[in-house]
């Protein structure tokens, strides 16, 4: 849809660590029995990845899947394909108790990229972000300042962050302020 605009329309705060609003991303809240074979299969079909283990996420470009809770996944697909993906889920899960809802526009997607990206996140999240403890493949739901957020790493210097759309600007500003304040020298 040509009218679609992401929360901050791709806003960027450049620096040694750059904060970038990631534009429109297709996201689906998918709740169900994560051990269900049909669920596993549709997850693989849509994203190319199987159901992740607890606390993990896998992604590649616009596609991916994250473990949200014992009965919930977050499915990532290209924004324009979200409704088709949901239709595919509905079809695959017919007769199974589940829920699949488009939450693409309910979220803001941010990337934090640069040499001390890890520290920028650690300034704001009460989580252990030491490289021994949080690595590529890990997915963490926690808080960023005063709002809920989730993040994972796509490479050693890049964090993908999602939060609710209404606080997207707050989260962006918060990350930008933390990046601007410079490295801590911890990691």
């Amino acid at each position: 849809m040509s009218n679609a605009v992401s929360t901050l329309n791709g806003k960027v705060a450049s620096g040694e660590v750059t904060i970038r609003e990631g534009g429109l991303r297709g996201m689906i809240t998918f709740r169900g029995d994560l051990s269900n074979a049909k669920l596993k299969s549709v997850c693989k079909t849509l994203t190319g990845f199987g159901v992740p283990e607890m606390g993990k996420a896998t992604s590649n470009g616009d596609k991916g899947v994250a473990w949200m809770s014992p009965d919930e996944l977050l499915i990532l697909v290209p924004h324009a394909q979200t409704n088709d993906a949901i239709a595919a889920i509905e079809k695959a899960m017919k007769g199974q108790h589940h829920l699949a809802k488009n939450v693409s526009d309910a979220r803001t997607h941010l990337t934090v990229q640069g040499s001390f990206a890890r520290e920028v996140i650690a300034k704001l999240a009460p989580a252990d972000l030491h490289p021994d403890h949080f690595q590529i493949g890990d997915f963490r739901r926690t808080r960023l300042g005063q709002v809920a957020a989730a993040f994972w790493m796509t490479d050693a210097e890049t964090f993908e962050v999602i939060c609710f759309r209404s606080v997207g600007e707050y989260a962006f500003d918060l990350l930008a302020a933390s990046a601007k304040a410079g490295p801590v020298g911890r990691f």
Binding site: M1, A4, H97, K101, S104, A125, A127, V147, L174
Partner: protein, 1003 residues
């Protein structure tokens, strides 16, 4: 006089002069100085005035324990009161002024208090200023407040930045002396993640001043080598200028890093608060030297012995030319030796012990220093500066044997381990009678989440005063902490320290032992708060026997140093007064922070725009650009009205109401909560959540529903739409989305976990616009794409479709009584849809309206509003909403509660409409008055207003309210109170004021 010595200090760079001002005087110091050392180098002995008596105060210590040297630092937006000069590193351009005096430091009229001090013993203010009563507020208290306080209040906003940092460690070591370094090293060797912090700018603590030998090297070299080794360990993080400020439950530690205080020209945050999770904490926090209690021990020039040594060795500053050392232990002899070797005079060492032997005593004697055993100081002479001491027998009552002229007294009463961090979370102390100190009881550490101790203490903080013990203890503590954190110790040799032989100390709590009242009333315990030995004795005499009573009655230990110098001396004085043992008197509670930390760092980045999140809808930018006067609703900000130029807010509200009623209004309703409830048991579940039946709602239809708390009170309302066979969409109030979502999850997860229901909060997926007014259908038809006719989309139904090219879900519902559609489009298209509506609606008079117009229109129609008609004490029955309470259901949340006697009471106030007799608006919050008063003399009431507005539609005041037997009293006129004591009359009427038959909405 105090001055800079020829030999450079260890820490100062004599090649780099630094200029600064003190009380407007231009002075010079060197890079590496503290403000204290620089002032002393400029012979500025007097640095402030005491709290109560405004007595002259000089520096007494060299570190964080300093009670006297507090200044106003900086100016304008960097102004900061009560800055401790002993921990303030000098920088070029530093500006400081002394505190708590008028008109000047040298001539302070407040000093008059000192002459009346005999009338101002401990607690004097509890005994006077009682009569006449009004004098306390108008005369006594303002006078006392002016005299009290210390630094000036800042005026400007702080423009520096601050931040937090979250970090997890296996072992956190607090204190960068040799014990802490050894602990960090041994813990680091085991592979544990270690953090070591040191509050000063320099590693090594006392060892690098007193320079014992460790592993055959000088302490200086050992420290440098160990720091280097730690820096090379990837699993170890070390930080200077970082204080372990507080230990909290479950291994939470706050560390306070001061990044630019010493170099304000640097970029970046000024302070950083480390929020640390540590499995184990090692407190290697050292010890603080205790003053001795003798008359005149507060006169500028009386300084702790080790501090005198610090100034000489670290900064090359002599506190005085002639220094009398007074002590009860060997350590103070180091000061005499140091000064003597620097070419200064030591007229005598006054040692309260009857005799003592040791290497240091021998060395002092060998240097030709006169040593007097069994002696004490009867009195220090001088006013703004020490001029001499009178010597007496320690065992006596203070008869003067001899007077010695001097300009500095270096005193040492022994050492008190810094046990603060150990104690913050409940670690217990034991009294070590031999060393006259409280030290941590290793058997009773603070307990962590697993019930085991999570703090170990090391070195001097653990009561070890000799290098060999200190360093071995530090090494062992690091190992045992790492082990407790799950790491195996690597075989490594503990460092070995060497010590001079020292004799035992003899506790001295008063000098001389039998000091008269006159002397005791001049023997200070708390220098800042002006508490003397006689004050603590008076407290005991008057029955303030508990250590907490004595502290609070005398204010000992309550100053900005929190009693770092005074606590143990005060305690010993109290114990002696009560004829009790010191450990039986106990200590006061140690509370964080160790030394004061900035409010700004606690707030961190959360200032200005980042103070709290502001939630925004996709249309927020448009609102801001078009005059929105916002009101906060939870974390959202909603336009209250869109104010045009030349309008008041009130005008704007009226315009919006009239325009919506006559033409077309648009409301950004995106903030309303939207919860999808889906599953085979969703209907059953919603029947429990809502008071009315939701399971029988037909697909495609909408129904208004009420939710109550389990306590029976109305908590939320909204329209529920049946989406398909097993899916419902529940609208909540703006403030209700997260709360009701959580409420549903609570019941699904914790009570009915076998029910098959999933809930998802999709509030922010949608931008929702209410299109309201007689022209509502026209604008939608113009956008085109969907049949929104009365026949196809009747009232209380919904449909999916396309409007003007937008994917839309259209609900035919109304909260205004007008023809109305609420249209949801994906949030990413919300702004475009809003713009499209405005453009298409222009010819129909489209105009956005805010929350106040919304409120007025719903009140004109008699609709209730959660938060207005409800306040957490109102049940649906009070609002005549029985029609929305299912009689068929056996159970719903709140049903049982509503069966309680008070809930079923026919005398509960009920909702009615109210029309003022004179057309005016009843004030918000007015009560309906009744005859007489209650048993407590309060005027009886019979109701209250819940919503009250000027109705631009009806051009008069309208209101709703809860009134005793209200629905049975239609037409009756009752009186509502105003705060000015007058009343306003209102007639009880039907609550629907406008379009009672619903003709406007059913078109």
């Amino acid at each position: 006089m105090s001055t800079r010595l020829a030999n450079a200090g260890r820490l100062v760079n004599k090649n780099k002069a630094v200029s600064f001002t003190f009380n407007g005087k231009n002075l010079r110091g060197f890079e590496g100085d503290t403000l204290a050392s620089a002032l002393l180098a400029n012979d500025q002995m007097m640095v402030g005035r005491s709290f109560k008596y405004h007595r002259p105060r000089g520096v007494v210590a060299s570190g964080a324990e300093e009670p006297n040297g507090l200044v106003n630092l900086g100016k304008d937006n960097t102004f900061e009161p009560n800055q401790r000069i002993t921990t303030t590193e000098l920088f070029d351009g530093l500006t400081a002024t002394s505190q708590n005096h008028w008109p000047s430091l040298e001539f302070d009229v407040g000093v008059i208090n000192t002459y009346f001090s005999r009338f101002m013993p401990a607690g004097f203010y509890y005994k006077m200023f009682i009569h006449p009563r009004p004098f306390w507020k108008h005369i006594y208290e303002p006078m006392i407040r002016q005299a009290a306080g210390l630094g000036k209040a800042p005026k400007d906003r702080d423009t520096d930045t601050y931040e937090h940092f979250n970090a997890s460690f296996d072992v956190m070591v607090v204190g960068g002396g040799i014990a802490g370094l050894a602990a960090a090293h041994s813990a680091g060797q085991s592979g544990a993640r270690v953090m070591l912090v040191e509050q000063t700018a320099d590693w090594g603590g006392r060892a690098v001043v007193d320079m014992p030998s460790i592993d055959g090297k000088t302490a200086q070299d050992w420290v440098a080598d160990t720091v280097q080794a730690l820096e090379n360990m990837p699993n170890v993080t070390i930080r200077l200028r970082t204080q372990g400020s507080g230990v909290y439950d479950h291994g939470y530690v706050l560390a306070y890093e001061r990044l630019t205080d010493h170099a304000p020209e640097n970029d970046g945050p000024r302070h950083r608060l480390w929020r640390i999770r540590a499995k184990q904490i090692v407190t290697a926090t050292g010890a603080i030297e205790r003053p001795l209690s003798f008359a005149g021990n507060d006169i500028p020039g009386v300084v702790l012995a080790a501090a005198v040594r610090d100034y000489a060795i670290n900064f090359g500053v002599s506190v005085g030319d002639r220094t009398v050392v007074v002590t009860n232990n060997d350590d103070a002899y180091r000061t005499a030796i140091t000064l003597k070797k620097a070419g200064l005079d030591i007229p005598a060492i006054i040692d309260a012990r009857t005799s003592a032997e040791g290497d240091l005593i021998d060395e002092a004697k060998a240097l030709g220093i006169r040593v007097e055993f069994g002696k004490g100081i009867a009195k220090v002479k001088g006013g703004k500066r020490v001029t001499g001491v009178a010597i007496c027998n320690q065992a006596g009552e203070g008869a003067v044997i001899e007077e010695i002229s001097c300009d500095c007294v270096a005193m040492s009463g022994g050492w008190s381990p810094v046990v603060h961090l150990w104690s913050h979370c409940g670690g217990k102390l034991i009294w070590d009678a031999d060393q006259a100190m409280f030290r941590p009881d290793p058997e009773k550490p603070p307990l962590g989440a697993d019930g085991a101790g999570f703090v170990v203490t090391a070195g001097v903080a653990n009561g070890h005063l000799f290098t060999a013990e200190v360093i071995a203890d530090g090494f062992a503590a690091g190992r045992s902490a790492a082990k407790a954190a799950g790491f195996k110790a690597k075989a490594a040799q503990a460092p070995m320290g060497e010590d001079a032989h020292e004799g035992p100390l003899a506790p001295v709590w008063l000098m001389p032992q039998g000091a008269s009242h006159a002397l005791r009333s001049k023997a200070w315990l708390d220098f800042q708060n002006d508490v003397k030995v006689s004050d603590v004795q008076l407290a005991a005499q008057e029955g303030y026997e508990s250590v907490e009573h004595a502290k609070r009655y005398t204010t000992i230990g309550m100053a900005t140093d929190q009693g770092k110098l005074s606590n143990i001396n005060g305690l010993a004085t109290l114990a002696k007064s009560l004829n009790a043992e010191i450990p039986n008197v106990g200590t006061t509670t140690f509370r964080p922070p160790y030394t004061p930390i900035s409010m700004s760092v606690i707030a961190g980045v959360a200032k200005n725009e980042l103070f709290q999140p502001i939630r925004k809808t996709p249309m927020s930018d448009w609102h801001t650009a078009n005059g929105a006067d916002y009101e906060p609703v939870g974390q959202w900000r909603r336009p209250y009205a869109y104010v045009r130029s030349g309008e008041t807010v009130h005008d704007a509200v009226n315009r919006e109401v009239v325009n919506t009623r006559e033409k077309l209004g648009l409301l950004d309703a995106s903030t309303l909560g939207k919860l999808v409830v889906k599953g085979p048991d969703a209907g059953k579940f919603l029947d429990m959540m809502y008071t009315n039946m939701m399971s029988n709602l037909a697909v495609g239809k909408c129904r208004y529903g009420l939710m109550c708390s389990e306590n029976g009170f109305l908590s939320d309302d909204g329209v529920v739409a049946r989406i398909d066979e097993d899916t419902w969409l529940c609208h909540t109030t703006t403030g209700g989305a997260e709360r009701i979502h959580a409420w549903m999850e609570d019941w699904l997860q914790c009570e009915w976990w076998d029910w098959k229901v999933y809930v998802a909060n999709v509030t922010e997926q949608w931008a929702q616009v209410a299109v309201v007014g007689p022209n509502a259908r026209k604008v939608l038809e113009k956008l085109g794409g969907m049949d929104v006719s009365k026949e196809t989309l009747p009232f209380m139904q919904w449909a999916d479709g396309t409007l003007g090219g937008f994917d839309a879900r259209v609900y035919r519902i109304s909260f205004s009584g007008e023809l109305s559609y609420e249209i949801a489009v994906p949030a990413s298209q919300g702004r475009a849809f809003w713009d499209a509506l405005l453009a298409a609606g222009e010819e129909f008079g489209a105009m956005p309206y805010g929350t106040e117009a919304l409120h007025i229109m719903r009140a004109e129609k008699g609709f209730i509003m959660i938060g207005d008609e409800t306040d957490g004490t109102v049940i649906p029955q009070d609002l005549n909403l029985q029609w929305a309470i299912s009689k068929k259901k056996e159970d719903f949340l709140g049903k049982r509660a509503q069966e309680r006697s008070h809930m079923a009471d026919p005398n509960r106030w009920k909702l009615v409409g109210l029309e003022t007799v004179d057309g005016s608006v009843i004030p918000d919050g007015a009560y309906a008055i009744a005859e007489g008063t209650n048993a407590n003399g309060q005027r009886n009431t019979q109701g209250r207003v819940t919503s009250t507005y000027y109705s631009p539609t009806l051009k008069r005041g309208i209101a709703m309210g809860l009134v005793l037997h209200g629905p049975d009293r239609m037409g009756e006129v009752i009186e509502f109170n105003k705060v000015d004591g007058t009343t306003v009359q209102a007639k009880i009427v039907d609550q629907v004021f406008y379009d009672k038959d619903g003709e406007k909405q059913n078109v």
